[in-house]
């Protein structure tokens, strides 16, 4: 239940980023998992296809960094560190750029 709530939040954030960036897809997602997040990498990778199903991140490559520092101020959370989006939009966007 705890992890599902975290996943829902991540999913919402990734959809929002893709909209802002006008990115049709996300190629790679990098997550940082706190030492007190009550979540291990196996469970995370197991659930990930469901988390991203139907979002621009479906089929993306997932990279996970597990922290072992309980004093980190983010130790109870999962941090969406970065996402990679294709450069296409900058070539196809309004008037080019890129």
């Amino acid at each position: 239940m705890h992890e599902e709530a975290l996943f829902r939040d991540l999913r919402t954030k990734m959809i929002a980023i893709a909209e802002v960036e006008r990115a049709p897809r996300i190629a790679r997602v990098r997550l940082w998992v706190g030492a007190l997040a009550h979540l291990n990498e196996v469970r995370l990778r197991d659930a990930w296809p469901e988390v991203v199903r139907g979002t621009p991140a479906e089929g993306s490559r997932l990279e996970v960094e597990m922290s072992d520092d309980p004093e980190d101020p983010r130790a109870q959370g999962i941090v969406l560190a970065s996402v990679d989006v294709p450069r296409e939009r900058y070539l196809l966007g309004d008037g080019g750029g890129g």
Partner: protein
């Protein structure tokens, strides 16, 4: 085409799983509604039509913290339906697996969720700055519990090695003994955890709980025993539904269980301890006696001590079971032929309290009906009573003080929603 990396650094949060509505009139709480918004997941419906062999793996998905409990209740209920008896080394391995779950689940709650309340910290992160050794003890205990789950279950979360009738694979003795170097220091850490918890400062509160738990003649109950209560209930566990019912309340997605024709009751560590104190294993019993723990703990804040006692007994039991292990001749017991089908129910002791499963199985091995009553739904109405007493004792508190006090009162019972350290959205109506 190359990709562009967008740095986000966004911290995902748990929000909106629980809320509490209070209505205060004349210094009294007239309405207390603990709301749980986890969307319904329809597990009982999706089990229908599936093979009976799938039930342990499907129901394990209900909870990432206590999947073993779901697997055990499913297996026992289905085995009762099919007339299977699982004993000897297979029974011991199941108890060992349950020990692992109790250790990891309780250690998580004690050190990362509950202890900060008594030491004056808003969460475990702030506590770790001053009490790093305590937090690391908690993490080490959690790892010890997870080591049992991973070894016997195939992985830490949602184990895959449990099946109706036993296991898919059972370990050799020398394989199982590789857990001892992890569990022996864990037992010592668990003993220090009991003493640590007993030394915490507690509010002076007593609640008139009716405790409900399994009671076993020879052992502290996990997988077996009769249903018992502190007010005299004694019933074979498969007759759970004769004594308890679930009701839908309009403000919560979780059903609430009650005694039939009666009121609320409490399941979990306080209930197990009150009804089974005489079955503690020897080293744990001597530590319990040395700290002078009362025979019935009715102060919910002191549940942290009882949870620590259960971590210790689970470590002690795990070591005993490993040392006494001889591999069984077969990894699982086969159902009779021809396949009989039938109806069976069972209760086992999840870390948070009794977990009821009932299944109807057809002659083709398909599940015809399923019913699951988890511990959090059984405790929810009783938690509301704790909250009512808390509010009535000090109705003058500000909303912020009330939120903090109510969160602590809820965390005493380790419901699934307590995973979120700050989960409560509090609505207060003051008339």
């Amino acid at each position: 085409m190359t990709d562009r990396t967008i740095a986000v650094d966004y911290l995902a949060r748990v929000e909106g799983e629980g809320s509490l509505r209070l209505r205060l009139e004349g210094g009294k709480a007239t309405e207390v509604e603990l709301r749980i918004f986890e969307p319904p997941r329809f597990f009982e419906a999706l089990l229908r039509g599936r093979s009976y062999l799938e039930a342990p793996d499907i129901t394990a998905r209900i909870c990432g913290i206590c999947p073993v409990a779901y697997q055990m209740s499913a297996c026992h209920a289905i085995e009762r339906a099919l007339g299977l008896r699982v004993d000897g080394a297979l029974r011991d391995l199941r108890r060992l697996l349950y020990c692992g779950e109790w250790i990891e689940s309780h250690a998580l709650h004690i050190y990362l969720l509950h202890a900060p309340d008594f030491l004056g910290y808003p969460d475990a992160i702030r506590m770790a700055k001053d009490h790093r050794a305590a937090v690391e003890t908690g993490l080490a205990l959690k790892r010890a519990g997870n080591a049992i789950l991973e070894f016997l279950g195939g992985r830490e979360i949602h184990p895959v090695n449990v099946r109706v009738g036993g296991f898919y694979r059972v370990p050799a003795r020398d394989e199982l003994e590789t857990l001892l170097p992890t569990l022996e220091p864990a037992l010592a850490a668990a003993e220090s955890t009991v003493r640590f918890a007993a030394g915490l400062p507690f509010p002076d509160v007593e609640e008139p709980y009716e405790f409900v738990a399994l009671r076993h003649p020879d052992e502290y109950p996990m997988n077996e025993g009769e249903l018992a209560s502190s007010r005299g209930l004694a019933l074979p566990q498969e007759r759970f539904e004769e004594a308890f019912e679930e009701v839908q309340v309009p403000y919560s997605h979780a059903l609430q269980a009650r005694r039939r024709g009666g009121g609320t009751y409490l399941v979990g560590p306080l209930a197990r301890y009150a009804l089974n104190r005489g079955r503690l294993p020897p080293r744990t019993r001597s530590v319990v006696e040395s700290i002078g723990l009362e025979p019935e703990v009715r102060n919910p804040y002191r549940s942290i001590i009882v949870r620590a006692v259960e971590v210790m007994l689970a470590c002690e039991e795990a070591i005993r079971l490993i040392r006494g292990y001889s591999p069984p001749a077969r990894a699982f017991v086969e159902p009779p032929s021809p396949f009989p089908g039938g109806v069976g129910a069972a209760v086992t002791e999840a870390p948070r309290g009794i977990l009821f499963h009932r299944y109807g199985i057809g002659g083709d091995g398909r599940i015809l009906e399923a019913r699951i009553v988890p511990p959090t739904s059984q405790n929810q109405a009783r938690i509301e009573e704790d909250l009512r007493h808390l509010v009535d004792a000090r109705p003058d508190r500000s909303d912020a003080e009330l939120t903090d006090a109510c969160e602590r009162a809820v965390r005493n019972h380790d419901p699934c929603i307590s995973c979120a350290t700050h989960f409560l959205r509090l609505e207060v109506e003051r008339a």
